[in-house]
Subunit: 139 residues, 4 copies
């Protein structure tokens, strides 16, 4: 199996379909082993006190797994998030981008499970982990 | 045990500390049994196709549980989300507000666990469920 | 919709297919609103110190949701657990049975989501909560 | 930081405190990066059809994370499971042991989060993933 969409193709496609939010994210790397997706942290992602908000971290994990699915199945793929689990491990400081490293644990015909670890842009202690499950509707 | 903050006190307090996001939410009801928190769905909460986004649902569940903690422990309470699990059950249509019904399953000294079911404003089939765990730092 | 199997039919069927473990469980109640399933706590379910083990609680939640699926879809139903989330809220004392109250949040064609709260047989403070997701293979 | 208990010390300690279940498990490897824990699959772990049961997989993930906590904090450590999330990815065949590879994502003063991937003894496609959270009671 190989990628159905490479990094520039996927970036262009996401910009087109997610025009509202795509300024928040950038794909740093993409291959068959997984994705590195960046949350470009701005004031709108912060909570009082300067931490990056939980919903922003959720959005990052969700889009990272969705992008991996598209990269494998191509732009026509339909996929909806059916469940997620997250653990918040350390306080994410607002002054730094957050980088998500995602991989697909399973790419089945009807279920896809992706695993994501999130780090500060310059740091190696994980801020959060997430597992996102997507359902692929029958054709 | 009784409420440390009632509905108007809590609404006022959330408006003050979460000025960025509080226009998104309203407390419909609050008592010792739990909370009913409303997501006032607007264009910024939608995904292409008109569904309410996953991060918006996450934010609703998170703020519902946080508000219950404040209602019990008062405005000085410190609490940080440590984990969450969510299941997305049905497609949330964008034309309707979403109503979260939350209750606290455990209010411990260091861990709080809250359970949330989310419904369309006019409907009784749940759209999503979430469990949010908060940690209370030692004083 | 009505039940495809009632309580005695389901109890008999579970005894037949799960002969190894069915001595551990009993159905206390079953209707369209949900199930009450009992873990008949014995020494083999205990950890040092006398608490009921986590795997025993997992098994109780899992069988409660599986039994609800069978009660709706009949004995021919195929269903496999695809994900679970659990929160352990209070220490379950070994001297008492544990009672699980389960309901189905979604009974879709390919995904079923069930929610379970577990209580001591005589007590109203929940010991644990669980959500179990089952996948129904395409026919 | 270094290990408070090495592999033989930890194996001996687990045999002593978990005499009921320790015949089910073996530590294959242990260092500061994590643990490899083996479920020695026997008939009692199987479901009808020959799959390894969900509760057995849960037990494996739980003991793997607990063992890592002991390896770091020593035999006096108190730790109780507070939450877990699991995803079952592929059918685990009963003829083969299951090997869990665990690592600690966070070892805090009051919360520990461990991540586990489970594989067939001879195979590189994951059967399941789990995250287990433990609470360390204040001294």
């Amino acid at each position: 199996m190989s990628l159905a969409m490479n990094k520039p193709e996927l970036s262009a496609y996401l910009s087109q379909i997610f025009s509202q939010i795509i300024n928040d994210f950038a794909i740093d790397a993409l291959d068959m082993d997984g994705i590195t997706m960046r949350l470009k942290v701005a004031t709108r992602h912060l909570r009082p006190g300067g931490t990056v908000s939980g919903p922003s971290m959720f959005a990052l994990a969700d889009v990272a797994v969705y992008a991996m699915i598209l990269s494998r199945l191509g732009p026509k793929a339909l996929a909806v998030t059916t469940s997620s689990s997250m653990d918040f491990l350390r306080k994410p400081e607002g002054g730094s981008d957050i980088v998500a490293r995602g991989r697909l644990l399973k790419l089945g015909r009807s279920l896809v499970v992706g695993d994501v670890l999130m780090f500060p842009a310059k740091g190696d202690k994980p801020l959060a982990r997430a597992t996102m499950t997507y359902s692929i509707p029958p054709n």
